[in-house]
Symmetry: C2
């Protein structure tokens, strides 16, 4: 398993374990501290504790496993023993208020629990009570531990991460967003990282390897046993965003001609089924998919019946190249819990389970919203300021280019503005109304495209309708705004020009809101990402041009 | 079942079925035409066909059930018989190219299939081949029929809807968005509506009743049998957005002391289990929830074991008042397929299945994106223009108020603008950069709030970080923009003023982007809905004020 020897292993001859512990403690590598201590006799640990200054002694004591405390105290000199014993008693008295977070007992709103959790952990951190942090983490579901880590600023995050048990660290990694996952995986020693993923399901491991930087992923791959590595390589060969990337290889296959009783005996020999198993897969001698045997059919059928009598052949297998969004749609439409995945020849390759589809849907929707603000990669709320600044700067730069385009249009009409300064005051209203109206159409069209409801056949109809809506709202708001302008600047001409510009901009906004996403979609660009920048540029340019152009014609 | 007699039933004495068929045909009520025809002898239908003019004859022929064609043709006069026979043969030859859309055969990308589907249906409609439309619909999953109906403009939608078989219409309704669902349900005769929901699962029926206008929902409730109505009323008593609203009552309960063999015998008596059953619920004599018996445990356990030996007590039951977003988060975190729901006393009330959670997550994410554009209720792409205009006008009006606020700020500096018209040209750049930077922070914070990762404890840290990012980007872009302005207008003072305004606005944007969603959240307003309007107002006002204010101080 330890294919990548750690420095520890190499240098054990030269440096004592005690010195290694002191080094690891200074580096905040608490996981390694705990691991190193398991090798030492309590007496040696006691001797080490006696050698340390107060601060480091307390820090080390926080890493001692509860079951070894008594043995170590026994070897200490009396004064120190008394002090640490008192401290241990204090820690025990200060137990977290809700000891069983994941048990059926505490029925409470989750957000509130989460809040308490974060506060509990931060309080314990502030007091240096790492033992308590460790205990809190152990009682928390890995998904929540992940959420908690993401809610912590970097320094505290590193400390809390060092208190996550190695066996649970792998599962926690799978729940983290890509950025955070990579940085925390780097915090682990290579052998810790390998040890942490031992119990992961294969599909989770595949996802993790794909999320991690290449060299870390390669370490995990290399550390897997031969048979697991073979399965791993096969799953890794499919694109991440395809059915193959969502698939797991843990199917249970049966033959159609078997009797139900035989299947049941076979299952009892297996003792446990893979998680989220709601059906067995029926295949023929060549491994060609034939249908599914639902567990619910299995338990309601007589033992003498054959699999072929009760298997369902109406479950459509998913070809391995199917894009993941189509897989998600299929799960939604057919209320699936799991689905078979096949290759081009119809051979069964694996299965997709609904929990991965749920994660996919959630990630997609999160990405859509983030993309609209140009935050495509900013999953970590506490990523380094410089990294985040650089990423966001790109979006600001793109926006700047479009803003200068709008400014250039205004620049064409400087002479007019000089004469009628009220135009400068009212300009933003035209642009803003156009932007809002356009983004309404844009959002509707992006959604329609995502749902596959916009087709060449109905685009013209949709355009008519959107133009109709814009015309109605254009007339309404043109009149309102014109009247307001007349009252404000006491000029009917100005009011009429403003109203006309609003109407023109709302109509062009409807046209742009419809055509921009369609063009982007055809060009293979995600309309949710680029749509709103392009749209605002159009509505700004058209708005300013219409308003100032009309003014130049009539007012000057 | 027919508690609401249709006009048909009332007037059967006075008007012949043939006349009713002609009336229904003229009204486009094809479902009723087909129903009426089932009552008539083929000879009578033949006589009716002979009486009609060409157009109506073809229309009626499209509603004849395929299995009755031969019998009816037999009774027709020879010339007509030949013509209709030829037409039937033609229709058969023109069969849709992919006859088995929902069978395992056609492994193809779904979006493409969908497109073909829509086109096939529209082509058939254009040719008046309603029979083919009906056949296409029958081969399509109800979820896809729903998608197809939503993609059609109103007139075609009505015709296609009239060709959906009554038994499948209820299921289709459950997949439609609220608006479309209500309007299509209204298109049905009351007895058709009642008949269409007969086979729906209880939780789907509950959702449908909640989606429909009150009077239609009441009809469905009244039409249910006494025992079904009792269950229905109980489910309807919970808020739609709570665990109770997601719950279904179709649990299978067992006692902990039973032997596995006994449970298996009991299940075989049931013959089928409710869909999405992955576990049985273990309750005591008082109905108090005790744990779950997974089917996967059931099939891998010896018959002589007791339920209590293999049941899982670590599945946390969901209290019935839990908000639905928390339910969704729990399903995601724990990879659940279903979960028990309990009341305050711990009594088992029902279960929630993952398919409803998937729908919930999808709807929530869709709503979030739509809300950001002020389209909260516009689920129907082809809703009447007037309705949509009215809904969108509200959002435009709100935006107008904020736009006027910005205009008012500019108005304060008219004298300055008069002197330096270049200010008017550059103004939009300041506002636009602030808006983009602010919306980046805003989006990040809204997401953090949704994930429960923003807590009183880390807000200050987040603010420091966001201000840091804004400061870096502010300095960078202030310099770039200032230099561009210097080149354009050949004025260092103007450049410096512009740069300073950009920096100020980006810093205030970070502050506003963080504080606005937090304040809205605390006030109980969805930050995703109102956040961006409020934010833009702030960045516009601050941007204009800073830029024009500085200019007034230094330039004038």
């Amino acid at each position: 398993m330890h294919t990548n020897p750690t420095p520890t292993d190499d240098s054990r001859g030269a440096v004592t374990d005690s010195e290694l512990i002191i080094q690891a403690l200074a580096a905040g590598r608490n996981k390694r501290v705990r691991k190193l201590m398991t090798r030492l006799h309590p007496a040696k640990i006691a001797a080490l504790i006696e050698r340390l200054d107060d601060e480091r002694r307390d820090a080390l004591w926080q890493q001692v496993a509860p079951e070894r405390e008594t043995a170590i105290l026994h070897h200490l000199r009396p004064g120190l023993r008394e002090r640490l014993r008192r401290q241990a008693a204090e820690d025990a008295a200060n137990e977290p208020r809700e000891p069983q977070h994941d048990e059926p007992k505490g029925h409470r709103g989750k957000a509130k629990q989460n809040a308490n959790h974060l506060q509990d952990v931060r309080d314990a951190l502030a007091d240096g009570k790492l033992k308590r942090v460790g205990k809190l983490l152990q009682q928390t579901h890995p998904a929540k531990v992940a959420g908690l880590l993401e809610a912590l600023p970097p320094e505290e995050r590193t400390v809390v991460w060092s208190m996550v048990e190695t066996e649970r660290a792998g599962k926690v990694l799978t729940y983290l967003h890509e950025d955070v996952c990579a940085s925390l995986a780097r915090d682990l020693d290579p052998d810790e990282l390998v040890a942490s993923v031992q119990t992961l399901e294969l599909d989770d491991l595949v996802d993790l390897i794909q999320d991690l930087p290449h060299e870390l992923g390669a370490q995990l791959r290399a550390a897997a046993g031969a048979s697991r590595r073979k399965q791993l390589d096969e799953l890794l060969s499919y694109p991440e965003d395809s059915a193959g990337g969502l698939m797991n290889a843990d199917v249970i296959e049966v033959r159609a001609k078997l009797r139900i009783g035989t299947v049941m005996r076979y299952l009892r020999l297996l003792e446990t089924l893979p998680p989220q198993t709601d059906m067995l897969m029926v295949v023929d001698r060549q491994g060609i998919y034939q249908g599914v045997l639902r567990l619910s059919a299995l338990v309601t059928t007589d033992f003498s019946a054959r699999v072929s009598d009760v298997m369902h052949t109406d479950v459509r297998p998913i070809p391995v190249q199917t894009p993941d969004v189509d897989v998600a749609r299929q799960f939604e439409d057919h209320d699936l819990l799991s689905a078979p995945v096949i290759d081009d020849e119809g051979r069964l390759l694996g299965r997709i389970t609904v929990d991965d589809v749920v994660d996919l849907i959630r990630e997609d929707s999160e990405r859509a919203v983030m993309n609209m603000a140009g935050l495509d990669q900013e999953a970590d709320m506490f990523a380094p300021v410089l990294t985040s600044s650089r990423r966001r700067a790109v979006w600001l730069g793109i926006n700047l280019a479009t803003a200068f385009l709008a400014a250039w249009v205004i620049g064409l009409f400087q002479a007019t503005l000089q004469q009628v300064v009220a135009l400068a005051v009212l300009m933003p209203i035209v642009a803003s109304m156009g932007g809002i109206a356009g983004s309404q159409t844009l959002t509707l069209v992006i959604r329609g495209l995502a749902l596959g409801q916009i087709q060449p056949g109905n685009v013209r109809l949709l355009l008519t309708r959107e133009l109709g809506i814009s015309a109605l709202n254009g007339v309404l708001w043109a009149i309102v705004i014109a009247l307001l302008a007349v009252v404000w600047f006491d000029s009917w001409t100005l009011g009429i020009i403003l109203g006309a510009a609003i109407l023109i901009n709302l109509l062009s906004a409807a046209f742009a809101g419809l055509s921009i996403p369609l063009l982007l979609h055809r060009a293979g660009i995600d309309p949710a990402l680029a749509g709103s920048v392009v749209l605002t540029t159009v509505t700004d340019v058209v708005g300013f041009f219409a308003f100032l152009g009309l003014a130049t014609l009539w007012l000057v």
